[in-house]
Subunit: 375 residues, 2 copies
C-alpha cells in the first residue's frame, strides 16, 4: 500500500467536503493500493498537526470532528485537548506549515490549498522548492503576478489545479492532454460562471435583467452581494489560468474585464440594497437592446471568457444560437476548445461547474493523479 | 532531460501519425523535460529495432522513412539495409518483441499498440509482467475474455487507453478521475460512432435510411463494407471498455448488441452490392416508423451505448430532443455521464471521435501522462 501524506490549507466548504470524501473513499483507495495519510489541517488562524508527521496521521474520526467543529463556526483551537495532535495559532502557524512542507523532501507531500486566500502563494512557493506536490482549488495563487506564478509552476508535473476552473469538470486535465500532444489550441470560449450563465439564459427569454439578478440572489445562486459575480473578476481569474496554461505571459491587470454594472454602482459607492432596488433596473434596457441585436444576427448573448492568439478577455459576446454555448441553459458551465484536432467543431466539455461536492471531487482526483510522484 | 523509451506495434494510419507527432513535438517535449526515445517499430510481419535498446534510438529521419515506406504499402524489410537498426521477420518478431519488453524491468518502456489486432494480448500481458507501461489505441486487448483482461489491467497506473473510446476525446481520462474521486457513476449514454451518429441525424431530417447509408459510404464516412459499422460491434467494444472501467465483469458475448441489418443480410449471406442496392431499402420503413414514434414523444433516435446498473448494451434508443445526445449533428461523438456530482445535468464531452490525427494525439498524451512512472 502506497502512503500519500496530505496537508490541507482551508477548512471552508470545499476543504471540509474534501476531508469527508477522503474518509468515505478509504476502501476504494485501498483497492487502488493507495492510502491518503492526512498529517495536518489549517485555516487562516490555527493549525492542527500530528506529533510525528513522518509516520502518524489524523484518523478518520478526528477528520470528521474537524469538519463538525468548523461547520459549527468554532475554532480549530477547540481540538487542542486531543491527545492525537498539536495545535498552533497565530504567527506560529506559518512557521509550522513550512516545517511540514519539508516532508516533500523525504516522503513527498500533497500540499492542498482549498482556501480562497491571496496570501498562500508565499508558502506554496516555498514548499514547491522542497519538492512538495501542490494541489489547488484556490484560484488566487495562479493569478498572481507572472514572477510568482512562474515559480509556482516551475515543476509542472507536481502541480494540479483542476478545480480552479469549472470545479471538477475535466477542463484543465483535458487542456493539459491537448498541450502535451502538440495539438495547437487556437481558441477557447466558455461560460465559466454558473451565476452569469443562469442570468444570461434567463434574460434571453425576455425577463428583465434586474428581475433575473434579484431572483438569482433569492435562489442563492449569487454571492451575498451579486456584484461579486457581475463584476466578472472570478471569470477573469479562470480565463487567466487557462491563458497561462497555453503559455501566455499575462497579468490580470492586462486583461479586458467587462463588468455588468458601471463604476458608479460599485460596492464602494452604492449600498447593496440601493443597487438591487434602484441601480439594477437602470441596466435593463442596455441588456435588452443587446439581446435583440444578437437575435437579429441569429445569435444569443453569453458572458464568456475568450482566449485566442490576439485576446484574453471576459465579457458579453454574441455566440451562435445553435452552438454548445448558445444552447446553454441554467447554471452549467461549458467550454468550447478549438485546435488542429478540433478545428471546425470544437471539443466541448459541459456540466456543473460549482458546488463543494464536485469541487472537492476534482481536488481528490488531482491528489490521486500525482501518486506516481511519491516514493 | 528524462528519456522515455517507446516501442510501437502497428504502422497503420494511427501508428504512422503517432511517429510524425513524436517527431514534430521534439522541441515542445524538450521544454517539458522529456525525450521520447523510439527503440523499435513493428507491424504484423516485421520488426525494426535499434541494435542497443538500452541507449540507442531510431532517429527522426529514420522514423519519417518508416512512415514513407509503410504509407507506400512497402514492407519494413525495405529498411534492412540501414546501418542504424536490425530488421526481423516472421516467427522471430514475437520473440524479439518480448526481448524488447524486458526494458520495462530496467529503464521502463512505453509499449504502444496502435494495431487493430486481436493477437497482441499475449505479448501485452507478458510485457506488463516485466513492468512495461502499455498504451493502447487498439480496442481488442481490452475486449478479450475477463481472465486476460484482468491480467492486462493488473497494474492500472501502467495502462492508458484514451484513444480506444472517442479517439482523443478525454473520455477515459475523465472517467478515471471521476472513479478515483469516489463519485459513483450511475449512467453513461453516448454516441460513440461518428458513422452511426451521422446516419441517425440525417435520417431524422426525413431522408431514407438506405440513401443516407449510401451517401455516407460515398463520402468515405463508413468502412468499405458499411455493415462493419451498422452491425454495432465497434460501439459494443467501446461500451464494454467503459463498463469494465466501472468495475463490471462482462464479456462481449453477454452484451445486447443491436445490428441495424438482419442476419439474412449479413456479409456471409448477401454480397455487398446486393446489400447496398436491394437490402438497405427494405430497412427504410422500420427506421422511419421509429423516428415518427420517437418524435411523437418529443424524442429523437440515436444509436447509443448505454451503461447503468442494470444494462450494458448498444442499439437504437429514444433520447430527448433537447439533450446533448438529441442535439448531436454530423459525425461528432458525445458522451453523457451521470453521477452523484452530475446527477440532474450530465457531464458532457463532445467532439470529433475519429481520425488518425486526433487518435494519435490521444496516444501521445497518454505516453506523456505516464512519464512519472519512469526512473
Amino acid at each position: 500500500m502506497k502512503s500519500l501524506p496530505v496537508f490541507l490549507m482551508g477548512c471552508g466548504g470545499v476543504g471540509r467536503q474534501l476531508l469527508q470524501h477522503i474518509v468515505s473513499c478509504r476502501s476504494l483507495h485501498a483497492k487502488q493500493g493507495v492510502h491518503l495519510r492526512v498529517v495536518g489541517v489549517c485555516d487562516s488562524k490555527s493549525l492542527v498537526v500530528v506529533a510525528d508527521v513522518l509516520t502518524a496521521e489524523l484518523d478518520d474520526s478526528f477528520l470528521l470532528e474537524v469538519c463538525r467543529v468548523k461547520s459549527n463556526g468554532s475554532s480549530l483551537q477547540t481540538l487542542a485537548n486531543s491527545s492525537v495532535c498539536q495545535v498552533f495559532s497565530g504567527p506560529e502557524v506559518i512557521r509550522k506549515v513550512i516545517d511540514i512542507g519539508l516532508l516533500g523532501k523525504s516522503t513527498g507531500l500533497a500540499f492542498v490549498d482549498c482556501s480562497a486566500s491571496a496570501e498562500t502563494i508565499g508558502v506554496l512557493n516555498q514548499v514547491v522548492d522542497f519538492g512538495c506536490c501542490v494541489v489547488l482549488a484556490n484560484k488566487k495563487p495562479l493569478t498572481v503576478q507572472m514572477e510568482d506564478y512562474d515559480k509556482l509552476v516551475s515543476q509542472p508535473r507536481r502541480l494540479r489545479h483542476e478545480s480552479t476552473v469549472g470545479a471538477g469538470l475535466p477542463v484543465i486535465a483535458s487542456l493539459n492532454r491537448i498541450i502535451s500532444s502538440g495539438d495547437p489550441v487556437y481558441r477557447i470560449i466558455g461560460s465559466l460562471s454558473g451565476t452569469l450563465g443562469y442570468v444570461m439564459s434567463e434574460v434571453e427569454d425576455g425577463k428583465p435583467f434586474s428581475q433575473v439578478v434579484n431572483a438569482a440572489k433569492s435562489l442563492g445562486y449569487t454571492e451575498p452581494d451579486p456584484r461579486d459575480d457581475l463584476g466578472g473578476m472570478d471569470v477573469a481569474r479562470k480565463a487567466l489560468i487557462l491563458a497561462r496554461l497555453l503559455g501566455r505571459s499575462l497579468n490580470l491587470d492586462n486583461m479586458k474585464i467587462e463588468s455588468l454594472y458601471p463604476e458608479e454602482m460599485g460596492p464602494d459607492v452604492m449600498p447593496l440594497e440601493d443597487f438591487l432596488v434602484n441601480g439594477l433596473p437602470l441596466l435593463d434596457q442596455k441588456i435588452e437592446d443587446g439581446i435583440k441585436q444578437a437575435s437579429a444576427n441569429g445569435n444569443v448573448l453569453r458572458y464568456v471568457c475568450l482566449i485566442d492568439d490576439a485576446r484574453c478577455e471576459v465579457g458579453i459576446q454574441e455566440v451562435p444560437k445553435d452552438s454548445a454555448l448558445g444552447r446553454l441553459r441554467g447554471s452549467d458551465n461549458v467550454v468550447e476548445l478549438y485546435s488542429r484536432c478540433y478545428e471546425k467543431q470544437p471539443l466541448v466539455i459541459q456540466g456543473a461547474g460549482a458546488g463543494n461536492d464536485t469541487t472537492a471531487a476534482g481536488v481528490l482526483a488531482d491528489i490521486l493523479d500525482i501518486q506516481d510522484l511519491f516514493p
